[in-house]
Symmetry: C3
Subunit: 274 residues, 3 copies
C-alpha cells in the first residue's frame, strides 16, 4: 500500500453532483478542516449530472493521475444515500479513493492497479448525528479528514474483495468499424467519446487500413484534425482531445448544440483501405 | 469571547450573491491574502439570488456550525452598499461573523448565543481607495484579513447592542396543521422548507396525533420517507433533509420543476389522530 | 525584476474559459500541487466566454493589482492551442503573468510597467506527454509550478521584445460626446463600459461642461448616481462601478436583460454647458 499521511500538505480532491449554488460542498470542507486544518482541498467538479455515476467514473478515471502521489479522491455521487449500499476506501498503486460502492470507482483499475478495498464501518469517526440524506457531510468528509490525519484503512473498516463494477458500454469493433458512445459533453460543447487511441490503433493494425473517418449523427466528419485551430470553419470535425479519446468540436462554436447530440449518442470510426 | 487568531490556519468562509462568473470573489481573496497569506479560504456559496438576504441568512445559519471553532464567516449580500447601513462584526459562542447589518446575520442566534456585536468603524484598515459599490473588496475583505492577523474587535469598531432582526415568516400551528414555507430550492430541485423536526414534534405531542402527511401545491404527498432511495418512482415525496427540515423531492427528478413551485410556496404538515 | 519565490506561500491566480463543470481546472491544480504543494491557488474566473480574449484581458487588468506582490497570474484563454502561437511569461513591476501570447496580457501595461517578456521554450519542464488541445494542463500548469519553486524566467525561455497587442476599441471623444463600449456584463446584469473616470474628467475639463448625461440603447439615463441604492426604482441608471468605469444598473433588477443589450453595445457620455 502507499504510505498514509507521509507529507504535511495532503491533497484531497472532491467530486460530486452537488453543484456549487448550495452550501453542500462548503460544509463538507468545513467538516474536514475542523478535523485536519492542513488539508489542500481541490474541487475536481461538482457539476456531475445528478446521480450520473458513469460520468463521474469517467471523469475521475481521466483526472486522478494528474494529482500528487497519495492524494485522496473523495467522490460523492450517491443515489443510494441512507440505504445499505457500502461506503468504501480504495488504495490503488499511487492514490486513495473514498466513495459509495455504486460503481463510481469502477474505472480506476483501467488506469492503476487496485491494491486493496475496505468497507468503511468505523462509525465512531462519523459526525455524531448522521442524516439519512447527506453522507458527504456526515460520513465521507470526516472519514476523509481522519484518514489524512493518519488513521489508516484498517482502523476505518474491514477489508473486502472488490469494488462494484461499472456497467459501461465499451467500444465494439465490427470489421472496419469501431462503434462507441459520447460519454461527456464539456463546457465548449465538445462531444467527448470513449473511442481511445489504443482502440483506434488496434483496428488500424488488424485491418491494415490506410485512413479513418469519424461518423456521428448520420454525418461523415472526415479524418482526425490535430488541433482545434486546424478545424474547418463552422463545421464539426473530430480530433483526439485531452482525455486521449476522439471528440467532436466546432471551431469557435458548440458541436453538441449544433448537431443536437448529447451523452449516449453513437459515434463510429470507419476504416478504409484506400 | 472566543480567542482571536489562536491558530495559524484560520478558516474564513465566504458567502455572497456575486456568482463566480465575475472576478469579484477572486479579487476579495486577493485582498485578504495580501494581508494574511496563511488564510484558509472556503467558499460557502456565491449563488445567493441577487440581494436575497433571507436565503443567505437561512443557508449560513444551517452551515456555520460545521466549520472549525473560531472560523470567521464573511457574508456579502449587500443591497445597501455605499449607504449608511452599518458593517458589523459578531462574536457568537464559537464563531465570528462579518457582514452588512441588514438582517443577514439575524438567524445566528437560533443556533448559538450571540456574545458581542461591533459596528466596524476603523476605516484606516479599509483599502485606501473605497468604491461606493463593492465594499466586499474595499471594506469586508481587508477587515476580515486584519482580524485574522490578530487585530481584535475592539480595534475595529464600537460595541453596539444588537444586530438587525430578520423578518422571516415562521411556521404557524393551527390545531392539527403546521404551515410553513419553502425557503430554498437546491440544485436537485428539492424544495427545502422551514418546518423543522422540533416544530413537528411539538405539534405531534400537543395533539397526540398518530400520523402526519405533508401537503404542498394542493397535493397530499403522504408521510415522511427516510431516504431519497425509499421514495416512490416519479412522484414527489417528503422527507427530513440535511438541513433538519421537511423537504420535498422526486427520486431521480426535480420536484421544483415538476410541481412548478419555488421559494415562498406554502407547505403544510397535517396531523391525523388515526 | 521582482524577486522570485521570496515567500513560502506563493499565490497563483487562474483565469480561463474552461468553466467549472468539467475537471479541466481541477486537473491543472493537481499538476501544480504535484510540483509545488505549498501554492495558494485562487480562481479569478473560469467563466470567460469561450475564447473571448478581450473579456479576459479586461477582467485581468482590473483585478491583478489587488493580489499580493509577486503573485503569478495564469491565463488560459487559448483559441490557438497546439499551433505555433507563443507561450509567454511577463514580469511587470509587482506581478508575474503566464499566458498564450494572443493579446490576453495586452492590457497589463495600462496598470503597471512591463519589465520583461520571455517566450517559454523549456519543454523539459512540460508534462512528459503533451496533448495538442490542453496546454493549460500540459504546459502552463507545470511551468507555473516550477516558476513558483524558484526556477527563474531565464531558465524557462528566451527574452523577447514585447507581448502581442490587444486590438480593443478605446473610447473616442467628439466635441461634447465621449463614446465607448460595453465590455462586460456581470452576474447582476450590470453593463460595464470602458468609459473610465480619467476619460470623463478629461472631457469635462476640456469642454468646461457643467453636467453630464449617459446614453445607451437610444435612451438618456441622466447623471451618474453614487450607489446602487440611490438609483431610481425599476429604471436603468448609470454610476461609476467597482471597475472604476461607467456602468449601467437597475436597482434590484437586470439592466442587460431589461435593455436587451450586451458586450459591444455603444455607450455615450454627453456633456452639457448648462
Amino acid at each position: 500500500l502507499p504510505a498514509v499521511a507521509e507529507e504535511p500538505y495532503r491533497t484531497v480532491t472532491l467530486t460530486s453532483d452537488f453543484g456549487v449554488q448550495d452550501p453542500y460542498v462548503g460544509v463538507m470542507k468545513g467538516v474536514m478542516l475542523k478535523i485536519n486544518p492542513r488539508l489542500h482541498l481541490v474541487d475536481l467538479t461538482h457539476a456531475i449530472a445528478p446521480q450520473d455515476i458513469r460520468a463521474a467514473a469517467f471523469l475521475l478515471s481521466h483526472s486522478f493521475g494528474f494529482f500528487p502521489r497519495n492524494s485522496l479522491h473523495v467522490v460523492v455521487v450517491d443515489p443510494g444515500v441512507g440505504t445499505a449500499r457500502r461506503a468504501i476506501l480504495v488504495a490503488s498503486e499511487n492514490h486513495f479513493f473514498l466513495a459509495p460502492d455504486n460503481g463510481v470507482l469502477g474505472l480506476i483499475e483501467k488506469v492503476e492497479e487496485v491494491r486493496a478495498v475496505y468497507e468503511i464501518t468505523a462509525s465512531h469517526y462519523y459526525l455524531p448525528e448522521q442524516s439519512s440524506t447527506f453522507h458527504g457531510r456526515d460520513v465521507f468528509a470526516p472519514i476523509a479528514a481522519w484518514f489524512t490525519r493518519g488513521v489508516g484503512p484498517e482502523l476505518l473498516g474491514e477489508r473486502i474483495e472488490s469494488v462494484q463494477r461499472l456497467e459501461l458500454p465499451a467500444p465494439v469493433a465490427h470489421g472496419t468499424v469501431l462503434a462507441g458512445q459520447v460519454v461527456h459533453v464539456d463546457r465548449f460543447g465538445n462531444l467527448i467519446s470513449n473511442l481511445d487511441k489504443d482502440g483506434l490503433r488496434g483496428v488500424l493494425s488488424s485491418t491494415g487500413a490506410k485512413r479513418m473517418s469519424v461518423e456521428i449523427g448520420g454525418r461523415d466528419l472526415g479524418a482526425l484534425r490535430r488541433t482545434y485551430a486546424e478545424g474547418p470553419d463552422g463545421t464539426p470535425f473530430p480530433l483526439i482531445g485531452s482525455y486521449g479519446t476522439v471528440e467532436v468540436a466546432i471551431k469557435g462554436g458548440n458541436a453538441a448544440a449544433s448537431l443536437g447530440l448529447s451523452s449516449g449518442a453513437e459515434i463510429r470510426a470507419v476504416f478504409y483501405s484506400a
